[in-house]
């Protein structure tokens, strides 16, 4: 295989050992073990219970991983920018609430463990309906249709009561007393294990999908839809099928959402959630399979944890996007993949020093800018709210110029220093790349 096609392969498929086409099992196993072990890291031994907040964040992360992966089936693999992915998620969530209510009253004899599967099928159904309209077009027209769909469904969700419950949403009780393993799902940790199980199943499903003819044709239509037509496939049918399957997996995530929170409101179909999926997939890296997973973890942490510490978390999110978009358009996994040639040549060790030299001014710039944002926010908003600004437990006096000056110095000084170190780093990098891949284009 030529270099070009190998490089292209690496884009949607994880790197494989050349030669035997073995699937590597151990990353999946490692991920499973880590996810199962994580809640125990934060077990509250004093009160003999799990840290509810941690389990919540982990559960949310698990759902978002499935959601982001299913979104990337459209964006990264099929080149379809969809703003209505949240609609598939949310409508499946609403359906699941109704399923759970029916199961709770005995009308639906489905065990809890299979409810997400039902949710997936409802996601598939809704995706087929909306996809029929949307996938007639491609590229920008497709994106605009999905924008129209998401606004339509969001507005409708606040108006109609029987299915959507209006503005208040619909509620359910997940203790339906029907489980394959005899679990009651009273405690959040049990729901978390359910989420981990389904996340694994969904991820494996989506991973294998990338190797199927449909998955490969979706890539082809993304890259050159005209050429795909010459080969004999109708791109709109490929799009339709891909959209529907993406809806299936999004539905699984929506079902898990309904089980975890026991309430679904119109926020679950609204555009901000679809925008979240876009962020996660893009920031993690839309060109790799595992990118959205990383993105989901990062964004969920940002939203849940950082918003606890600062009300300006929206600014940080905005700055993160802009930085990624300018400096790292291939996402986090893109950055990591760039190291691949150097890693293979065994030269990673030589990057340690340059990285640490960049790290220090980088940290200074970060500290300075976060400091300024927080100071400004506190000055105009927080102070009147009666809050107190503390850094590592030391109260800060907002009136004096000292904190402002320190932050400004860190920002500007660190900025100049960083620019210098970055140039130096680039020189080292180029040198190493030359050694690792002699003659390759930079």
């Amino acid at each position: 295989m030529s270099e070009a096609t190998q490089a292209e392969d690496a884009r949607v498929l994880p790197a494989r050992s050349t030669g035997a086409r073995t699937i590597r099992y151990w990353p999946w196993l490692a991920a499973l073990l880590v996810s199962l072990a994580l809640p125990w890291l934060f077990y509250d031994w004093q009160h003999a219970r799990h840290a509810g907040f941690i389990v919540s964040v982990l559960s949310q992360t698990g759902m978002m991983i499935i959601f982001a992966l299913s979104f990337n089936m459209l964006m990264g693999q099929a080149g379809l920018l969809s703003f209505c992915h949240s609609v598939l998620f949310g409508l499946a969530g609403y359906s699941t609430v109704h399923f759970l209510n029916a199961a709770g009253s005995g009308e639906l004899p489905v065990p809890m463990e299979l409810i997400p599967l039902l949710a997936g099928f409802s996601g598939l159904g809704f995706a087929a309906v909306f996809g029929y309209m949307a996938t007639k077009q491609r590229s920008t027209a497709f994106a605009m249709i999905t924008l129209g769909i998401v606004q339509l469904v969001t507005t409708a969700a606040t108006m109609f009561h029987h299915f959507f419950g209006g503005e208040g949403g619909v509620k359910t009780d997940r203790m339906i007393d029907n489980s394959l393993f005899g679990l009651k799902y009273a405690h959040a940790i049990e729901v978390y294990y359910l989420i981990v199980a389904w996340a694994l199943i969904a991820a494996i499903g989506m991973y294998f999908h990338t190797n199927t003819p449909l998955g490969r044709m979706a890539n082809a239509c993304r890259d050159n839809h005209e050429r795909a037509q010459f080969v004999g496939y109708d791109p709109s049918i490929v799009r339709f099928l891909q959209f529907s399957l993406a809806g299936f997996y999004a539905g699984i995530a929506g079902g898990l959402f309904a089980i975890t929170y026991e309430i679904v409101t119109f926020d679950a179909v609204a555009a901000p959630l679809a925008a979240n999926a876009l962020l996660m997939a893009y920031i993690g890296g839309a060109t790799t399979f595992v990118g959205p997973v990383l993105g989901a973890i990062l964004i969920t942490l940002l939203q849940s944890v950082v918003s606890l510490m600062s009300n300006s978390w929206l600014i940080y999110v905005g700055v993160l996007f802009i930085t990624m978009v300018i400096f790292a358009p291939a996402g986090i996994t893109g950055i990591i993949l760039k190291h691949a040639p150097i890693m293979r040549a065994g030269l990673m060790g030589r990057l340690v020093l340059p990285y640490s030299r960049v790290l220090v001014p980088g940290a200074s710039v970060l500290f300075g800018s976060i400091g300024l944002v927080e100071l400004l926010s506190f000055f105009t908003i927080g102070r009147a709210q009666g809050k107190h600004l503390e850094l590592f437990g030391q109260p800060l006096d907002i009136e004096s110029a000292v904190p402002w000056v320190i932050c400004l110095v860190c920002l500007l000084g660190g900025g100049f220093w960083l620019a210098r170190e970055a140039r130096q780093f680039k020189r080292v990098w180029d040198g190493l790349m030359e050694i690792a891949q002699p003659g390759a284009p930079p």
Partner: protein, 416 residues
Amino acid sequence: MKFPRFIAMISLVLLGLGLWGSGARAADATIKIGYIDPFSGASASVGDASLKMFQFIVDNINAKGGALGKKFELVTFDDKQQPAEALIALKSVTDQNLSFVMSCVGSNIGSALIDAVNKHNTRNPDNRVLQLNCGQLATELTNEQCSFWHFRFAGSVEMRAVARIKSLPASLKTVYLLNQDYLFGQSIRNDTKKFLALYRPDIKIVGDEMIPLMQVKDFSPYITKIKASGAESLLTGNYGPDLALLIKAGVDAGLNIRYDSYLGHVIGAPTAIGAAGDGRLTSVMEIHDNISVEENNAAQEEFVKQWRATHDFGFIAINSVTQFDMLVRAIEKAGSTDPLKVALALEGMEQKDMFGAVNVMRKDDHQLLNPYYEAVLTKGQKYDVEKTGMGWKTEFKTTVADETLPTTCQMKRPES
């Protein structure tokens, strides 16, 4: 794909250690109250204003010694006006063993919290939490959805409707209803119709409109309809931009009508109505700045002056003052902050509010019963509102007895 997973694991562990460190807390030297409201996004202004008022109240309470020798502390959580986020915040609250959680904005959030608190307290009897509702007004929350663990310190829609309908002038014959199409707005419309039929059957409802929440920018078509109907009064539960824009459109069109609102005293509407609205806007409220003048209450007038010196919006949280006074007494009576004991102490408690009226926390549905004032926005008042030159003038007052309404609550009480 070695690296991404490796990096992911490392970063998770590192972040986790950090979280763990921040989670550990020393023995509670203060009584912490979790406060969940939107602090970012579109409704941030409401959460912001409420927080300022609560901080003011808590500072006053702490200055008087707090409860059981401990001071109160507010721990804020941003729910971004989404029920799922509010539930995550609730997990944080119970994680940190806070005994009380407070929330004011959004009846749908309140409804979600009631449900979640019930489920949590049933599934985790050793880590209960008490829910204090400071502003989620839908009548259903203390009727169909009532709960032993939920105490509402803000007048329900029903209570306000009584004040609203009883205070309408006797000469009024036609009204036009306009409300927001969601739980709260529907609650307003239903209760308004109910009490119109009960107290003022002579009034004819010539229009009944529901508008989508916070979506309408241009109210002129609605004004056209209202004018065509010939209504003398516009009865509306709108608030925020929905009310401000409605009034603006009406005033611009020169519509000769009364604006009889439920939430016209909440920030924004007085600014919107402007000078042309002199004598047109009325609202039902628990407190306004001129009551102390009208009732010759010097201590409260001092309070008003103190607040106005440092804030540019009116103090409307009189019920929260009552809430904290009651909470202090309940904690001292129960001898601890255990939610069950405090709840039993709170039920049925009577407390004098800032003006000396005796408020009652009814045991049947955990609704605080307090009097209401109906006031008109007009010139020539001692204290104006939002620097418009106009202030509120009381026209009508209800008593606690007036506000004691039947409830359909079938409260399930915990065994222990």
